[in-house]
Amino acid sequence: MPRPDDAAARRLYAALLRLLAPAWLRRRAGAEMCETFAERLRAAGSPRERRREIAREIGGLVRVAVVARVRQPARTPVRRAPRRSALDAVRQDVRFALRAMRRNRAVAALAALTLAVGVGVSTAMFSVIDAVLLRPLPFDRPERLVLVNPTIEEWKHSPSLQSMWQRGRFSPPEMRGWLAAQRSFEAAGGFTAGSARVPNGGGAGSERVGVAQATSGLWAALRVRPYLGRLPGERETDSVAVLTYAFWKSHLGGDSTAVGGGATSGSTSGRCA
């Protein structure tokens, strides 16, 4: 005659079996294991023996569940996932990624931000490196162009000027002397860069643009030809303006009659840079 608390022990054993044992073992021997457990309880004499048997059975069940999971019988058929096409796999991955991002928006936002900053910084760095180091100067045979600066020995040991000692500037007489004496270069010219205020392209107000004074030798050194008009010759000194293509378009409306006109004695437009 089963005791009333046998039912509770049997339910516990069945629940542990469902929870721990692999499906193949439950399918093949689950009902018999429960039945044998019940018979063992019925056969137990004293309550103490009964408790010992329950402990033995549950301990054995846990150990068997582990062993049975590690060593499955070879003849248990393994269900394989159906074959998928590569496109299906990608689609499934994308769906999974979207689901994961929806579930964890903060992480997704942080990842997106990190990517955006990374891409932005890389692009900016590449733009600078490309312009400064990789892309050649927009002149014919740029590898033969050299910028010459005088050195100033006295500045070499001055704390405030030592960074500039190799980047001195010629005075106009020095420049003229050097240009007349030099034999090292095919062509040489001098320039001083600055800025000037000019009327706006639209007519109202004025704006600051970059300008430079140059000797006529500069054009030969840079090997540029004018898009329109002519370049100043050696005899002319400071009376001829050369415009960049961009300035001619923006401030003179690309007007070809502007060549030769203007406030100065002769205007020509420069080659497009």
Binding site: C34, L61, A74, R75
Partner: protein, 115 residues
């Protein structure tokens, strides 16, 4: 009839050997097998239901034991198991292996109680 050589299964795990010995007395269900094992090991082995059935599932897969019809009059839910010819051959081979070991132990005077 399976054609495996019995030696392939040696040495047999202790519990598997006990199951074969228990079923050597005739077909039995799980609880009866446990009781027979307790008897023939004089109580030193008392396997849990889980251990017993894991061993029996493997013995069945290897073709050493098989299900046999439930005797008339017994609970139909109980499943009975019996030795196959291969199981009997394996039990014999394992017993002979153990006997050789026991003979060796006797030759070394390890079987007698010290005087």
């Amino acid at each position: 009839v399976p054609t495996h050589a019995p030696e392939r299964f040696l040495p047999l795990p202790g519990l598997s050997y006990h199951v074969l010995l228990a079923l050597g007395e005739g077909a039995a269900h799980g609880w009866a097998v446990i009781k027979r094992i307790r008897e023939l090991t004089e109580g030193t082995s008392n396997p849990s239901s889980g251990s017993l059935y894991l061993a029996m599932v493997r013995l069945q897969d290897d073709g050493l034991i098989a299900e046999s019809p439930t005797p008339a009059g017994d609970d139909a839910r109980r499943r009975y198991y019996c030795l196959t010819p291969l199981g009997r051959a394996v039990a014999r081979a394992e017993s002979q292996r153990l006997e050789r070991l026991v003979r060796r132990a006797r030759a070394l005077d390890l079987l007698q109680e010290p005087k």
